[in-house]
Every structure is written in structure tokens, then in C-alpha cells.
Amino acid sequence: MGFRYLPMTESDKKQMLDSIGISSTEELFSDIPKKVRLDRELNLKKTVSEYELKKELTEMASKNANLTEYRSFLGAGVYDHYIPSVVDHVISRQEFYTAYTPYQPEMTQGELQAMFEFQTMISELTGMPIVNSSLYDGGTAVVEAMRLAHGQTRKSKVIISSTVHPEHRQLVETAANGQKLEVVEIGHKDGVTDVAQLEKELDDETAAVIVQYPNFFGLIEPLEEINALIEKQKKTMFVVSSNPLALGYLTPPSEFGADVVVGDTQVFGIPAQFGGPHCGYFATTKKNMRRVPGRFVGETVDEYGERGFVLTLQTREQHIRREKATSNITSNQALNALASAAAMSALGKNGVKDMATLNMQKARYTKQKLEEANIPVTFTGSFFNEFVVKLSKPVSDVNKDLFEKGFVGGYDLGLTYAEFDNHMLIATTEIRSKEEIDAFVKELGDING
């Protein structure tokens, strides 16, 4: 049978074998010792035609309840936002999506410039001067921030708030095992980092304090107070993981003394796609520039004096530094960074702020309506687009009932916080209409009893 990605004809093959001076391709594999040769065909599913495969995969996809058909109030780190149509058209340009890393700048100025623009946008939102051209995702960016802090301070204790995304804390735990770092988790009080406990744990052996802003419960962390404590230690770094959409409205972490700001740009133009690929960002101070993981695009000039862009400061990277590298990161999320850059360009200065504000307004409306329906809201502090409510029965049961009514309910906090059994984390983004919110509140109220 024919394979549409393989142009080799019998005649090509014969000519090529003749040119090499062999009679069959078998000779090219004769160096593989017999005992490790596979003497049978691989046992894989039989191939089907393009039409049939597409049909099969479309049917498989339709077994999933997708967010375009259900009204979702689920966030917990991955959000259902407006994606401007331009985004997919930009990233579908083959010159972007099929290209390799721009190691040959003369033929990849487009990618390099787009990444330079991405770095600038994230710098604007976070207020940090140094931004790389993306990392795998928000969670691995937190891990890289920990590694940078350890490398820069030579200290081995890492303090992380329990209000940081549970999966991100697990990633930190896994990675810390590799480098024999001690991870200390700080409890929460009124839904934000317990500052008194932080003060007790913070000492001159602390490499980093990691918090999330807004935190996993949606609340705005007291960055100012936390920073005041960190500043008493000479070296300890302040790491803030931050939803960049929220930074369209909230004061950027740079103004609270953050040394590293990381996060995920999924909120800008990247669909949920079952959790990945999303796109991490990494922003920091000038002092830390030479320890930043991943790639930087820098501006320079060509031989005619015209502006151009190149990958720069590569001596930090693994392919040059090998075992002395500060990170093993090779690939980044260039295409998703491009999607986010296109979305941020479409939203622009006013749109990012408008979108952030809409999220906050609609989340507040949802919260107020739920309170009116006698569903208690757990925390009273300032929040962004997510908040926690206490239900009268298990969240998983409630979500099953909500699903029957066409809703994807909130996150079951009891899964990751033993103290929050029957608590649901509810996200409301700008795309939820008043009508949908009202219907959701009514259903949830009815189910909750």
C-alpha cells in the first residue's frame, strides 16, 4: 500500500542503492546485532484510510464533553477564556508551526522578532525587566524559579505557601528530591499565606519563598507584608507565580519586591486541551539574568547596521554548558508563546485590562448570587475571578448533577486540601453570561438543598 508521506519509488530506491554500491537496504541495517534485531512485524493497530481515521478520531473526540458545549465554572489553573480568531490563523502559518528553534537567525527573523515581542509584553505585565521566551508551563516555571534561587543563593531551603497550586507544589517536591533541597510548606490563614508562620520559618538558610498571586483560592496574597519579611534576609529570593491576565488589573509583583515572577500564559489564546501544552513564562531582575533557564531573544544589528534579532546569552544553556548548566531545559513553548503574543496584541493595552475587569465583575456577581442562594462563601478577602464555597454534600456528587444540566462545576478542593472537604472552587470568566450564571446558581442552589 502507498504511504502519502513517503515519496520513495521503486525506481528511486534502485538508483540510490546503486549509487551507494549495495543491493538492498538490509545491508544498511546489518550492523544491528542479530540478537537485538526485531524478527517480526510490530504489533500495532491496522492502518485505515485517511477518511476512516478522521472519522474514528472525531468519534473519539465526541466522547469528551467539551467546553464549547457545556458552561464551565471550572478553573483551578486552567481557564476557559475568549480566544480571538486571529490567534489560530497566526499559529497555523507553516513558517511558524513547522520551524525549528531559530538557530539560523538570517532565515528565522520572524520567529525571533515574535519572541522578542512576547518578552516585552510579559515584561510590561509583570514589571520585570528580564523575560525569557517561554518555558513548558506555569508549574515547571515555578520549579525553575526554585532552581535559580538555589543556584544563585547556594542555599537549600525552599519555603512554599500552601496556597500555591497543589500540582505546582508537587512538582517542586519532586524536583527538590533531585537536588536534595528541603521544602517547607506554610499553612494558610483566611485563605492566604499564614504570615506569622512564614516569619517563623524564614531564616538565612532560605533560598526562596514561593507564593501565588492571585493564589489557588483566587485570593490576593499580601505581597507587601511577605516581602517585608523576606527583605530581612540578605539573600532569600521572593518568587511570585502570577496569572498574567490578573496583572492587567492588579499591581505587578515587581512593585512588591519580587525577584522572580513566573506563570502560565494559557489565559491568552491557548485552549485548555486537557492540560497541555500551555505556556510558562519566566521574568526576573537584571541581577539574575545569567542564570535564567531557557532561551532569550536579543536585539542586535546586522552587518548593514539594520536591526535584527538573535538567540542570545546561550552560554547559560545545556548544549554549551553541559553538566555545568543551570537547567536542562531544551525546548520551550514557542508556538504557544506566539499564540499568547497574538492574543495580547489583539487585546492590547485596553483589552487586557477590560478582560481582567470583566472577570472580576462576573465572578463577584456569581459570588453574590450564590450567597443569596444560601451557599456560604468561605473567604472574605479580595479576589480575582475565583472563590471558594462550602456545600452541604460531596463536590463530586454535586458536579455529576450539574453535568446533567449542562454545567461543568467547580474544582473539588477536598481532593488536595483535607481541611476543605465539600468545598468547591468556582471560576467565572468573561465569557459566562448573566443568564448562564443565573442558571448555574439556581441549579447549584437546588442541588445543594
Partner: protein, 487 residues
Amino acid sequence: MAKENFPLIFERSQEGRTSYNLPALDVPEVDLEEEITDGYVRKVDAELPEVDELELMRHYTGLSNRNYGILSGFYPLGSCTMKYNPVINEDVARLPGFSHIHPYQDTSTVQGALEMMYDLQVHLEEITGMHEISLQPAAGSQGEWTSLMMIKAFHESNGDFDRDEVIVPDSAHGTNPASATIAGFKTIEVKSNDKGLVDVEDLKRVVNDKTAALMLTNPNTLGLFETEITEMAEIVHGVGGKLFYDGANLNAIMGYSRPGDMGFDAVHLNLHKTFTGPHGGGGPGSGPIGVSKELAPFLPKPVVREKDGVYDFNYDLPQSIGNVKSYYGNFGIYLRAYTYIRTMGAEGLKRVSEYAVLNANYLMRNLEKEYELPFTQHCKHEFVLSGSKQKEKGVRTSDIAKRLIDNNIHPPTVYFPLIVDEAMMIEPTETESKETLDNFISVMNEINKEAEENPDVVLDAPHNATVGRLDETQAARKPVLRYQKED
């Protein structure tokens, strides 16, 4: 010829222009500033560009025209497997049932996604000969690190806490030693012999009871099959160490040989190389791992399991190293790999490797006439030339690379592996036709001729690119990493 400057999106910005259209505020408005804690409302807006939709599309289309993808032309970038990225993959990845599902939805509502993951795991187990697969690592380097963390956990579960050495060949990818370091190991280098293969005597010398693992790419970065692989496995296993397979070069051996049968205990795959996930200009990738039965208890969690046709996630893995990437890895990328594997099947994948290897040998035998070939045996899917003869004429490999750009060919990987002087690492892949290969041969021969007769045309290349040669020294000395508006 002076080249044209292309404006930044910020330089196209005009106050008052927009290209967004958000849903209306249809709920009663509250005073946010009043409610948010003092000092936490942003005072200065983020300076993002203000452009209309046409300007935005022109900008990014213009940028794409200043870029080079696989559909632009030949891309023989060694070690990167720049094969055709099938367009059906893109269609499948954009089905709403795959692209718009949330990782925390109840598993009963995402059975199709889990079924795909499970079936992909089964296919990858068979292709690699490994006992169990995890799709979680985001990319190759994370797959390497994850494997090493599992090997470490395995040793420690045996009370073996002193194995802190990982052996890496001198020809290895730079990620190998970097991954070893952040997994908490010391890197010990093993030498290559004059055939470009691991020197087995040297391997015997460096292994001991501190050896945690050997990291190996096979075929190696010179494109050569490590013929003594079973002896190497015996040596490493003999001292209690494990073997890790860097799957960067799997494209050479699918259906011919499997890492699991060679004695490897852990494997990572680059789905964005071998299995056509697009490279995306540097990512996202996907780097699943496969492990032996012995290492399986240490896999990152969760793992997908199936019972009576129902799929779910198993988090109850007491010996797991933990999770290494949020949620379940880069679903959107391994979905593309699944589509590809289902398109090709067993026969197709074997032909992929057959033709990838045939194409590479054809290029190698036709280029060795003018370019130095340091290792002369048959290669696998790629080979390494040295530009040493051209260097004597004053033309370096970097110049040859820039001259290829004038011929609308992406240069090979250059100056790697480090053990070859003026290296050019060439990987044509199976999706390129004989005509494309013949054109490449004649261009390379022409450049060689130019190096002799008219070296300036090579030294001044590229002539046809959107920019001239760029000053990389200045970029690194005075880093400018973001746009600053001129006052």
C-alpha cells in the same frame, strides 16, 4: 545591499485602535477599586500594542514571511528529525472534543481522551519494547530527567544510596549531562573510539559500584549504531547500574530493533521528532518515557488505566517519584503523534526508518567525495561531515551554512557533535524525495567549488536573506531583551 527594517508590533501601535471584541458587561457593576486592598490596583497600564485586526494580521503574516518552515524547503537539521508535519494532525488536534477539555473534568466526561492516551501508550510500548509508558514529560530533556529520577528512586528503594554517578559518552547531546546534574548525579564521561562508537574498554574502566546509569543514544549522535550494545548493557548491569536510552534518534530503527530488546531499562521519546509533532519554532514538544517492569512502580503519577472498557487515572502509586509536569503532559502534541502512528501502522513505520536510513546513506556517499567523512561505515538516519578540507581554504562550516541559506536550504546542525572538527550533522529524513536530495548534493558541491574559486561569495553569505549576518557578540555583551519606547 542594505536590508529593510521590519517594524515591531509596538511600533505599529496607535492609541485608540483595537482588534478585540469582548462580551458585554451584563451584570450589575461593582466598584472594584473600593473592594481591592489598597495598593493592589495597578496604577500604570501595561503598554501592550494597540492595533486593528488587519494591521495585526499583516504584522504576523509579515513575520511568517521572514521565517522558514518545512514547507518552505529542505531542512536537513541533524538530530532534529525535521520531517513533514502531516496536516491531518492539525485538524485532529483542533477538534473541540480534544482542544476544549479541562484536565480536572470528571474522568467519566473525557473517556475519549483517556482512551487515546491509553492506546498511544500501548502503541509506544510495542514500538520501544518497554513494559510501561508515561506520557507526562513535556519534552525530551524532561523525559531524560524523569527517567534518571526513577532510576535514582529504584536504587534508593534497594537501600543503595551511594550511586551518584551517571556515565555519558563524549558525543552525547548536552542535555544528557545537564539532566544528570539536576537529578543530583555527577557526570562521568566515557570516550568514543576511532570508529565513533563508545569505547567498551573505557566503559569497563569507568563503571563501578557508584554507577547509577549509562545514558546512551543509539544510533548515536554520529548516526552510527552502537554495535556492542549488548556487551555495554552487560557491563553496566553487571555493576548494578541501569541503562537509559535517549530516544532522539529512534527514527532510524523503528520496526528493526527496540531499545527494550537491547537491554535498556528506561527510554525517552521525542514525539515532536520521530512522530511528527511539529517543532513549533522551538516547542511545545512531548517527551514520554518507557520503562522496564522493574522501574514501573516509580513512574510519575497519575497513570491511565483501563478496566472493562472504562478508563481512569490511578494516583495510588506509593513508590512514584511524584508528578513532573502539571496535569497529564502535552496532550495536544501526543494526540498528533497518535494520529501519525495510526496513519502509518507497523509497515509504514518500518518503511520510515528504512527510507530515512537510505536517504542518509545516499547523501553521505555522494557528499564524501568533496567533504571529509570522519567515520566511514554505513550510517543510520544521519551522518556527520567535517568541513576541515574547506577550512584549509579559508571557508568555515559556519560560512557553508550561511551559503546554504542563499539556496533556500536550511543549514544542517553545525559544530556538533563536539568530537568532530567543523562538524556538519545532516539528517534528511524519509519524507524528502530523491530530487530534493540530488539538489542538496549539487548545492553542496557548488559551495565547495565556490570555496576554491570564489571564496568571498561564501564568506559574505547570506546574500538573499531578510537580514545580513547578525552581530551575536554585541547581542550577548549588551543584552537588549525587550523593546523600550523612545521618548
